[in-house]
């Protein structure tokens, strides 16, 4: 069976624009495969190149070497089978919530009434019925994330790429959103690559957790199958013995890298 998304031996080296001899290799020889319907979390210390990896998978960034395959086919240009949930604000501020949700359908050429019906349905699914006419600045951070989620999922992507989507939210909102995300994913299983620096979040949500080393030349140093039963409640599952066992096991492997990353941040 071919993987939904396969990053094969990806290396990304950035060259400084002012001084061409200054190089920084963010990602070094990384291979990551995600099966169809699999929820994979990628954790790693801050600044280790997690987002770089995701941008390569999205087709927004061309790797220095290595290959991306989407359902067996080499990726050229933007990854049309993937949806991307960004870490920072990505909604178009000049469009209201409904128009933001339907933007992708509009780009695709779907007729307006059909797109709007579909958009309203998605707003309802993310719990924002009746908020369609509001502009992004009139919504709270959590509501904006819900609109972003609907905006991505309405396109029915086979692969969903998420870059620390909930990191800007408060703890309570975050747990609610995590549960809702699991519910939506459970209903219609897509392949998910979920980037986070929060190990608990990663274990609670995923089928598999991949641990990255500290930068530069980030590469995977651990790959753990999370055999917790589904459906899960992200709050309750954190209390189970198996969760705690997995957490301490993965944390043990991560600890040194986190410290390394921390020291590097300090030196910058």
């Amino acid at each position: 069976m071919t993987a939904a998304l396969a990053l094969e031996n990806i290396t990304c080296t950035f060259i400084s624009r002012d001084d061409r001899s200054q190089r920084y290799t963010a990602v070094g020889d990384t291979t990551l495969r995600v099966e169809a319907g699999e929820f994979v979390s990628v954790v790693g210390p801050t600044g280790c190149g997690k987002s770089t990896l995701l941008n390569v998978a999205a087709g927004l960034l061309l790797p220095s070497s290595g290959e991306v395959r989407v359902f067996g086919e080499p990726l050229v240009g933007i990854n049309r089978r993937a949806g991307y949930l960004f870490q920072s604000e990505a909604l178009m501020p000049w469009r209201n919530a409904l128009d933001n949700v339907t933007a992708g359908l509009e780009f695709r050429g779907v007729a307006l009434p059909e797109a709007q019906a579909c958009g309203n349905d998605w707003l309802r699914r993310v719990g924002l019925s009746g908020f369609g006419h509001r502009y992004p600045h009139q919504l709270s951070g959590g509501q904006r994330k819900r609109v972003s989620l609907a905006q991505t999922l309405i396109m029915d992507p086979q692969i969903i790429l998420m870059d620390e989507p909930f990191s800007a939210l408060d703890v309570q909102t975050r747990q609610l959103m995590e549960n809702e995300l699991l519910e939506l994913w459970q209903a219609d299983r897509k392949s998910v690559v979920f980037i986070t620096h929060d190990l608990e979040e990663a274990i609670a949500l995923s089928d598999r957790v991949v641990v990255l080393s500290a930068g530069p030349e980030t590469h995977p140093i651990g790959d753990y199958v999370i055999d917790l039963p589904r459906p899960r409640d992200v709050l309750e599952i954190r209390m189970t013995p198996r969760f705690i066992e997995l957490h301490s096991q993965i944390w043990h492997a991560m600890k040194d890298e986190v410290l390394k990353g921390y020291v590097q941040q300090q030196q910058k």
Partner: protein, 287 residues
């Protein structure tokens, strides 16, 4: 003693009733205008005050005009109907300069901002053209387009274009890279990016510049008329100046100011309509 206290209390309550606040802003604005006209009248009227600075009673009026005569001149213009033809010509020149300058500024601004090579090549020339004092082009435009309306429109366009152009250019450069990446992930083509991301993002910058652009479109029209024409408010001012009719000069200035304000107000309304998505500070309501 007690009656004194009462009096001051009364005065305070009277003041609190008429003190400037959001509700009576317009009243205070009108009062400021009346005050300015009052002072103007008092200091220029030949008979009201003995000459303070000039050695002759009539000199203040000669240099600064008299508000009553200025207003009566405006009245005569509108009642006699003499002004409409001139005003119409100046307004048409202004509007044409404004429209042509804005549209070309938006188009060329978008083009150069999205094509780094073209922008790199044109950069020094754009800077040179912008640095050049545009009014000295007026004689050339008279030769090219004659003394009619088109030479004034051309002068106005050179003034409006650069303001709008630089703002569009900046607006496109400031588009959030995340919003852009998001639109691309949602499947937007280059054309759709232009229409749905770059253009709306640049519009907020464009509107900020349009208020300046309106004023400059007027400058182009009036300066052009002043330098050489047979009609328009600038022509009227030039004629009046030739015979030292300072009241008519001031009447023309007031008229132009009023119409520039009206145009600016129209731009403000359009901005409010089109920019509803922009966050305004302090949108809470006190109950």
């Amino acid at each position: 003693m007690s009656s004194n206290n009462k009096n001051s209390g009364l005065r305070r309550s009277l003041w609190s009733r008429i003190a400037p606040r959001q509700g009576n802003l317009r009243v205070w604005q009108v009062m400021l205008l009346l005050l300015a006209f009052g002072l103007w009248h008092v200091f220029t009227s030949p008979t009201l005050l003995p000459p303070l600075y000039f050695d002759d009673n009539n000199k203040a009026a000669f240099f600064f005009g008299e508000p009553l005569k200025v207003l009566s001149r405006l009245w005569d213009w509108f009642v006699g109907g003499e002004i409409y033809q001139h005003l119409w010509i100046t307004l048409v020149e202004t509007m044409l300069a404004f429209l042509i300058g804005t549209v070309s500024g938006v188009i060329i601004g978008l083009w150069l901002a999205l094509s780094p090579m073209a922008s790199a090549i044109c950069d020094p020339y754009i800077k040179a053209l912008n640095a050049m004092p545009r009014v000295i082009l007026a004689p050339i435009f008279f030769v090219w387009f004659g003394l009619g309306m088109s030479s004034k429109v051309a002068l106005g366009v050179t003034l409006v274009f650069f303001i709008v152009f630089f703002n569009v250019y900046q607006g496109v450069k400031e588009v959030s890279p995340v919003v852009l990446a998001n639109a691309r992930m949602l499947g937007a083509s280059q054309r759709q990016l232009l229409r749905y991301v770059y253009l709306p993002s640049a519009m907020s910058w464009v509107f900020a510049s349009l208020h300046n652009a309106v004023g400059l479109a007027f400058v182009g029209a009036v300066v052009g008329e002043y330098l050489g024409s047979a009609a328009g408010v600038g022509y009227l001012i030039h004629q009046a100046e030739g015979v030292f009719d300072i009241n008519t000069v001031f009447a023309g200035i007031l008229l132009l100011t009023a119409f520039a304000l009206v145009l600016d107000w129209i731009v403000g309304i359009a901005e409010k309509r089109l920019m509803v998505w922009q966050p305004k500070s302090g949108e809470t309501e006190r109950i």
